[in-house]
Symmetry: C2
């Protein structure tokens, strides 16, 4: 595949913001409708994995796209730096606990992919360990898929420039102060190394395929992700179960 840095982080010109923005609530409603059937049928589940650098807009995306979905059948799990307890288990232990049961949607805000990305960029892992982790991730995702879980993987692709702009805004907009974190500036310096680490992830863990989402504009990003989720739910051919006598 192409180098990440050569991929656009913006919408192609033919997409008009005002037109596209109107489509998002519609898609979101369709997702909500499919989710009701998913829940009633309780045969399949959907796992949405969201990856992206700091300020790539994961939180906002979840709010917009899953707005209106019944929280009873939808669960968001944010993976932060592992706790001491979590570190006393294998790296997939905390992830496996959070997978969706049949009938549910789980959204991972970051995921087990952080456990290959961060150690790679920080140099905490050797080649053999990294290779093993990729293998364990592939096996783990296959286990879930064999059990009726559809996995959708999104990488929110922002430019270095846009990331800086957003991080700066967290220091000037009082509503975003709570998101400010000095550590993010340190991580941002490693932008190029993260791009390389992501390229390796896309190469090593490609079943199911990653969706690389140009994410400098929220409206375009939200549109693409919502559209993909809706299409995926549609392809699952969900059905309300018949009456059991």
């Amino acid at each position: 595949m192409k180098k990440l840095l050569s991929l656009s982080t913006k919408a192609p010109e033919k997409f008009e913001k005002e037109k596209i923005k109107k489509l998002i609530p519609e898609l979101s409603e369709q997702i909500s409708d499919y989710q009701k059937i998913l829940y009633a049928q309780s045969k399949y589940s959907l796992l949405v994995i969201l990856q992206g650098l700091d300020a790539s807009g994961k939180d906002g995306l979840i709010n917009t796209v899953f707005h209106g979905v019944n929280p009873l059948g939808c669960n968001v799990k944010a993976f932060k730096a592992p706790t001491k307890e979590e570190l006393s288990y294998d790296f997939l232990w905390r992830v496996h606990k959070a997978v969706p049961p049949k009938g549910q949607i789980s959204i991972f805000n970051r995921s087990h992919y952080e456990d290959v990305l961060v150690p790679t960029v920080e140099g905490w892992i050797n080649k053999t360990e990294l290779k093993n982790r990729f293998e364990h991730i592939n096996n783990f995702e296959k286990l879930l898929q064999d059990n009726g879980t559809v996995i959708l993987k999104f990488y929110l692709h922002v430019s270095k420039k846009e990331q800086k702009k957003r991080l700066k805004e967290r220091k000037t907009n009082p509503k975003k102060f709570w998101k400010h974190n000095d550590g993010d500036w340190e991580t941002a310096k490693k932008f190029d190394r993260y791009m390389e680490a992501y390229e390796e992830v896309f190469k090593q863990c490609k079943a199911p395929e990653w969706n690389i989402i140009p994410s400098d504009q929220n409206w375009y990003k939200e549109y693409l992700v919502a559209k993909k989720i809706k299409e995926t739910l549609k392809e699952m051919k969900l059905e309300y179960p018949g009456l059991e006598e």
Copy 2:
């Protein structure tokens, strides 16, 4: 390997009950000593998987062998028929939650192997699904081993005759009434089919190797299992950590 039914369920003649019985508390104490170091070091963990037919003596074995081990660092998990909640996840979900963290011993009284044995004997699973399950089990055990978990697998081998004797006792000895279950008699009828299913398990999931324990006599069974656990802990070269300044 040899057919299970051709393997003895009893101690060879040279083993004398009275002599061997005296060795068990000694082994049990050594296990308890190693466990203290395992706990202090918190680098490795031990997973003991106990499989065997009804009345093969799993509960009693745990009591004898782990007598004296500090419960703080040792946890027994009994896997019964899956609950409705557990069935809404992949078959390894409930198992992964129960694996030992670093520094601990977990004992599985039955395990994920029931999820291949029962469906095979009952005819609930097709060949592809079964093959997938074996693969997932092997991958899962490799994940744990890569994380510093040593896995010990025991199959408690009882004869059809001894099993019947023990099941009968549950109907005559008031202290064992609580263990009596009509369903066990139904399962006992499938003895030969379970032997075949176990043979397939030993063939498909052989890393780490299974320990097949002749189990008609409690003293011999307990001795063999305790000895193997002690030797395994010894080979782990556990060490109290140095003083961190």
